[in-house]
């Protein structure tokens, strides 16, 4: 559920980010805001960085979520063992 909300928010931001921030939306990367201009600099190398970071953030988020579920399960099992 949380994941769906975050993914939905990311898509909403990607689609309407400039509008949400009060920008009309750039026609091209070069015409955009400071962030867009920075991303478009140095032969677009920061786009590669953004792409790779987005993958790792998503995977780390998923792993943390899974880790939380496993921890809860371990705690429940531990509680039963202690009761016995």
């Amino acid at each position: 559920m949380i994941m769906a909300v975050i993914v939905g928010w990311i898509f909403l931001f990607l689609r309407n980010g400039e509008d949400l921030l009060g920008y009309p939306g750039p026609g091209s990367a070069e015409e955009g805001n400071v962030l867009m201009q920075a991303m478009a600099s140095n032969g677009l190398i920061f786009v590669v960085l953004a792409v790779s970071l987005s993958i790792w953030f998503l995977l780390v988020f998923y792993l943390l979520k899974l880790e939380k579920k496993i921890s809860l399960l371990e705690k429940e099992i531990q509680d039963v063992k202690e009761r016995k």
Binding site: V7, I10, F11, L14, R15, G27, S28, A29, M39, A40, N42, G43, L44, I45, V47, V48, A50, V51, S52, S54, I55, L58, L59, Y62, L63, L66, K69, I70, L73, E76, I77, V80
Partner: protein, 227 residues
Amino acid sequence: MTAVIAAAFLIRIPEIPILYETARNLVFHVPLWFAMSASFLAGLICSIRFLASGKARMDRLAESATVVGILFGIAGLITGSIWARFTWGTWWTFSEPKMNLSAMALMIYIAYTLLRSAFDDPVKRAKAAAVYNVFAATTLPFLIYIIPRQLPSLHPGADGSPAFSDMTAIELRLVFYPAAIGFIALAAWLIQLRTRWLDAQAEWQEIQFEHAGKSGVDSPEYMNKKQ
């Protein structure tokens, strides 16, 4: 994977018009779809094996493979959208068949997870999900590969735009193939990790039911008996 990431950033590539340095994204973006397809294929095999054998573990494996496949698919869509913004000038375009059909394929698989949550009976849930997974897997090659290849598009791999061409640096293939293997291995590890959690959860439910003096309704033994 560390070597792949380092090589992706450090390898020398020729200057390519429009793409420039973003040609390096080939190493990250495309293997995500390979990993997604491999996960969905694993999900299909496990679903068929579940229908044939009735083993609950096969259902759990199929579920994990499908969820991990969806995760890689979402990552593929996000990375593709970022890449498109700086090369095509838009985050999303409805005139690009590969982009839209990939999103449609993901929607079909997201429906798989929704279908699972609609059933209370674990046996019915597993059977319906397995049958649906077979259907979903048959649509995947058409939506991801066959139809986009028939339609003209800017996206490499479409009609009139080969996957490997001047648009994609040949040097990157040296990093691309290890990256594809690495991402598929990463998906396999995530599937295994998630299945272990589901196994532990099933075992835990069985212990709970035994403790309460009942038979384990969601247990593998119960599911196997009901087949």
